[in-house]
Symmetry: C2
Subunit: 106 residues, 2 copies
DNA sequence: CTCTTATTTCGATACTATTAGAAATACCGT
DNA sequence: ACGGTATTTCTAATAGTATCGAAATAAGAG
């Protein structure tokens, strides 16, 4: 993953409202949640929700699937995993210490 | 970790310049890097760097230690690990599918 | 075709972030 | 104390973001 992409993903998750949305979708798993259900659960204005969903969508953190009138949203697990990997990647490679003998230590 | 804290950390990392800074420190490991060394490496204005370092500092993503005139910065590995854990935490708990039988699958 | 439900776009407002040059401060070595 | 190096604060211009109500669009149901 490129740094600018990672930054874009982190920025997208860096807003409390969007993080709430994303986590609700992460919790929901492969069932996903409709926009309407998200709105009811999180109790935010529909326009605000739509705005944030678009932000998450354009960076790829979520996907959407139409089921007639309702729109099902799902977290993109691949991208989330890639982001987590990016954060710990190259950890301590310049260190002379023993902090990162194994990657799990970071 | 509370959601608002996690969002603050993600937001701090969500700026390309700050992410560059943070990654340089993550690479550096427990040796850390001085502000001046960071400035030379990343080639950004000293005032801009100082500003971003403060942002990372107040959310706790980095720590600083004075060594006479120079200021050594280090990534806070604990916080980074906490953030990564937060992201995958509660993954798929509401799912009826088989996506997350083990946590590693997320 | 019209009604209803679901979601998005528009428009406006208020707030916050990014950047960097210039000036200020901190601290050590001599 | 002086000079030099390291870092921060001040100031300001510019641009971007968050929010929500109102209106608009989309799509199935009757």
């Amino acid at each position: 993953m490129k740094l600018d992409d990672a930054a874009a993903h982190l920025e997208a998750l860096g807003n409390p409202t969007r993080l709430k949305i994303f986590r609700a979708l992460v919790r929901a798993g492969d069932n996903g949640l409709s926009v309407g259900k998200l709105q009811t659960r999180l109790d935010i204005a529909a326009s605000t929700l739509s705005h944030h969903l678009k932000t998450l969508l354009v960076v790829g953190l979520i996907t959407q699937e139409r089921q007639s009138t309702t729109l099902i949203c799902r977290a993109s697990y691949d991208l989330m995993r890639g982001l987590v990997d990016f954060l710990v990647d190259e950890c301590c490679v310049e260190s002379t210490g023993t902090l990162c003998v194994t990657k799990s230590a970071c």
